[in-house]
């Protein structure tokens, strides 16, 4: 026991002090950061325009919504152009205060909120950005670079051949399904719709801060934004903001000159976002999306994590073998003690890295400071707190760890060099790489037969169970899966202990399979 603890603490301390461990520690937050930044960045850069169709049963909203969305984009472009002109104006159009706004066309000299609807419309009618750029040209320095103007990302169109109003109102999910599901194309409906907005006939403005204004109102009396899956956040915000504007203006106009105008200023649109694939069109939140993706993501992370740790374990063992220190070790303690100690120490390293990653995950969110990211972290934290995911994740991590550790340790014991490490581990690494693909493929039907069968297979079990974590699989299945894995681990470690003893003193090329069987029988 003393020997095991000594070896374990040595393994732990030496690994934690090693360069590869430090590098992984630095890489983990870095990769988390990049992982978060990439979708945001793509979202920002992507110029793909999304089309949203409107069915306006109330009348009078569809055209105004389309115009408002267009104006909104016009303002973004003009505002960007304003900054551009300010930066690159010729010196004779500058004053001590900056741009000489008296001599530059007014439309180029305004921030977004100072641009009137009329100006925005004039800009759109005249031809948009190319026109405005021509207008700006005479005032720019010759060496001004091409401007980066925000692309139009959203377009509002009427829904072609909408189903009859009665059908729509009775079961909007079924009626709109063909336009939004992946099969929309095949059904001959407008392809590529990001969402369909259904405006019921008797929708009215609601007070700011009310339940309905916050997106939790009765869908039948709200503007319904139907999509297949989560709406992109910025699109949802744009639509909500634009609709709020429309409803507030209507209210202001209706109450002009009365005291009610004060309340009218606070009128908002009742908007609910709905998921076409959720039964009954339950309101779709970011939390839903995260909840759906999180277990799969964690399952993939688990594999990735194991791989890092396995690689470290294998390299350490390879080092001990290739520098022959192992012979001194097994003249002091039994090979079994050495192996158990190493497994224990390296599993502690893995747990430490695991803990660090969880901290880094939340650390990054709080440092990031961006409200969307913090909201995301908040939701993740909420989900994690409210469920058994974290303890399960830990359980599956430990199971996964010991499932593979014995194998990698033994392989490491045969390796003389890093090249051996790579060659020997290749089949297992390929297997590990394949695992998340299989698991994710079956995770879409988390309580289906395939997923359940996979849960009971050695090796796949922990990862499959992780991916199923949110579908609350029966406790008996969790226990069964854990039992299968424990038995597998016991068998593997038993075999590993036998082979390990021979492997560390084995000289010459790594053995063939038949030799391994001989080692298992205890021969040398």
């Amino acid at each position: 026991m003393r020997g095991i603890l000594l070896v374990a603490s040595h393994e732990f301390v030496e690994t934690v002090r090693s360069k590869s461990f430090l590098v992984s520690l630095i890489l983990i937050p870095l990769m988390l950061g990049v992982g978060l930044a990439i979708p945001t960045w793509i979202e920002h850069r992507t110029s793909a325009m999304r089309t949203v169709a409107v069915v306006d049963l109330a009348g009078g909203y569809a055209e105004r919504l389309a115009a408002a969305v267009n104006r909104r984009h016009a303002r973004e472009v003009l505002s960007a152009l304003h900054l551009y002109v300010r930066a690159y104006a010729r010196s004779d159009f500058r004053t001590a205060q900056g741009l000489d706004i008296e001599r530059v066309p007014a439309i180029l000299a305004r921030p977004a909120d100072a641009i009137s609807d009329a100006e925005a419309d004039r800009f759109l009618a005249a031809g948009g950005a190319p026109w405005a750029l021509e207008l700006a040209r005479p005032y720019l320095r010759a060496d001004a670079p091409e401007p980066q103007l925000p692309p139009q990302k959203l377009r509002i169109v009427p829904l072609a051949d909408p189903p009859p109003a009665t059908v729509l109102l009775a079961d909007p999910a079924a009626a709109l399904g063909p336009w939004l599901h992946d099969g929309g194309d095949a059904a001959g409906k407008t392809p590529g719709l990001a969402a369909v907005i259904l405006i019921p006939p008797d929708v009215t403005g609601v007070a700011a801060g009310s339940v309905a204004a916050l997106g939790r109102g009765d869908p039948r009396r709200s503007v319904q934004i139907w999509s297949d899956g989560a709406l992109p956040r910025d699109m949802a915000r744009t639509l909500k903001g634009t609709l709020d504007d429309l409803f507030r203006r209507d209210a202001l106009l209706a109450t002009a000159g009365t005291r009610d105008i004060l309340a009218a200023d606070r009128v908002r649109a009742p908007v609910v976002a709905l998921d076409i694939s959720a039964p009954g069109g339950r309101a779709l939140t970011l939390a839903d999306t995260i909840r759906r993706i999180l277990p799969k993501a964690l399952s993939v992370m688990l594999v990735y994590f194991l791989y890092i740790n396995m690689f470290m374990l294998m390299s350490n063992t390879m080092e001990e073998r290739s520098n022959r220190i192992v012979e001194v070790l097994i003249s002091s303690i039994t090979p079994r003690t050495l192996m158990i100690g190493k497994l224990l120490g390296s599993s502690l390293v893995a747990v430490a890295m695991f803990g660090f990653s969880v901290l880094a995950f939340f650390g990054i969110f709080s440092i990031a400071g961006d409200s969307a990211v913090v909201e995301f972290a908040g939701i993740v934290l909420g989900i994690l707190k409210g469920s058994a995911i974290v303890p399960l994740l830990f359980l599956y991590f430990v199971l996964g760890y010991f499932l593979f550790a014995g194998i990698f340790l033994t392989l490491g014991a045969f390796a003389e060099s890093n090249r051996d490490v790579q060659n020997l581990s290749l089949p297992v690494v390929l297997f590990m790489a394949m695992m998340p693909v299989v698991v994710i493929a079956f995770a879409d039907d988390p309580n289906g037969t395939s997923a359940r069968v996979l849960s009971f297979l050695p090796f796949f079990g922990p990862f499959m169970m992780m991916a199923r974590a949110n579908a609350s699989p029966p406790v008996i299945e969790i226990l069964g899966s854990v039992a299968v894995q424990l038995l597998t681990i016991l068998a593997l470690l038993w075999a590993a202990a036998r082979v390990f003893r021979v492997a560390i003193l084995f000289s010459g090329r790594p053995p063939r399979f038949r030799q391994l069987l001989r080692f298992l029988r205890g021969e040398e």
């Binding site: 040595h10 001194v328 003249s331 003193l505």
Partner: protein, 312 residues
């Protein structure tokens, strides 16, 4: 004399390669025991079996009164043939860790590590990482790591290889100190000078079998004494002396010839010289060549090879 190590008729083969073939030996407490043999003779394999790092196919081992050296590991220090230490650890750290594996407490292990490094001139290297040390220095550190837990029995597999002459001297002194302290030392080597200077007894093996076990003098007794005499006289009367086995002329320079006499160890040099005087043989130059262990080694191994060659 108490026997510390006893190996009886051990056999070990790797595939169809016979490494040890019926080896037996016994080492008494306080002895310095040399384990000699040509490359591939099975020294390392025997040592590993002795330490229970490997199990023999057949035969028995008794170390410090038990069957498995592992259960008395804290009383044994082992320097393997192929050296190496954790390259990223400090000299002091490695010695401390290995001493702790042998049962020492953390503080005591560190104290002994420091003391040893200081005593053998490595105090400056104590805090340096092994990879920053020269090969010889690292090897010294490894030798020290076998001593830190104050073992009763030391088993060193070719401890002198890789050391410069000065450090070889240092190591010889270490072994003498250990003997003086009553420790038992078993070491393997194929450099006979070390064995000659240090060993109380030696075991010579070849092809996994004992070919000689006994003291260095006994080993030498296996070979003839060689006498060289330079003279212009007639040496024929000398060849009749008892114990003289063979005479031949080595060289000639005018009238003076150099003769070599091969004689049994029982030959008395006094009688030989007296005979020269008696027969009026003038002595220009006279030397007596003691056989070296090296000669014994080469002879016995060659002889064994000839026998083995027939057999296989």
């Amino acid at each position: 004399m108490e026997t510390v190590v006893r190996i009886a008729d051990i056999h070990k083969r790797f595939g169809d390669q016979v490494a040890v073939d019926g080896l037996s030996l016994a080492v008494a407490r306080g002895e310095v025991f040399g384990f000699l043999g040509p490359n591939g003779a099975g020294k390392t394999t025997s040592i590993r079996i002795l330490l229970d790092i490997m199990s023999p196919d057949r035969g028995s081992v008794d170390v410090l009164g038990v069957r498995s050296a592992l259960s008395v590991a804290h009383r044994i220090g082992y320097l393997p043939e192929e050296r190496g230490l954790y390259r990223n650890m400090t000299a002091e750290g490695v010695i401390t860790y290995l001493a702790r594996l042998k049962g020492l407490g953390a503080r005591e292990a560190r104290r002994r590590a420091r003391a040893l490094l200081e005593r053998y001139g490595l105090a400056a290297a104590a805090r340096r990482r092994i990879r920053q040390l020269s090969k010889g220095m690292a090897q010294k550190v490894q030798v020290l790591s076998t001593l830190a837990h104050d073992p009763d029995l030391l088993i060193l597999d070719e401890p002198f290889s890789g050391l410069d002459p000065v450090n070889q001297q240092v190591l010889e002194q270490v072994l003498r100190d250990l003997k003086a302290a009553g420790k038992t030392v078993i070491f393997s080597t194929h450099v006979m000078q070390h064995a000659e200077r240090l060993c109380d007894r030696i075991l010579l093996i070849a092809r996994g079998r004992n070919i000689f076990e006994g003291s260095v003098d006994d080993a030498k007794a296996r070979l003839d004494i060689r006498l060289r005499l330079r003279t212009e006289g007639d040496v024929a009367p000398l060849s009749g002396l008892p114990a003289i086995k063979r005479v031949f002329r080595r060289s000639r320079d005018g009238d003076i010839c150099e003769w070599e006499f091969r004689a049994e160890r029982s030959l008395s040099v006094e009688r030989f010289i007296a005979a020269c005087v008696e027969h009026r043989i003038p002595i220009r130059h006279f030397t007596m060549l003691e056989p070296s262990l090296h000669d014994v080694f080469v002879r016995l191994v060659r002889a064994n090879d000839a026998v083995g060659g027939e057999g296989s």
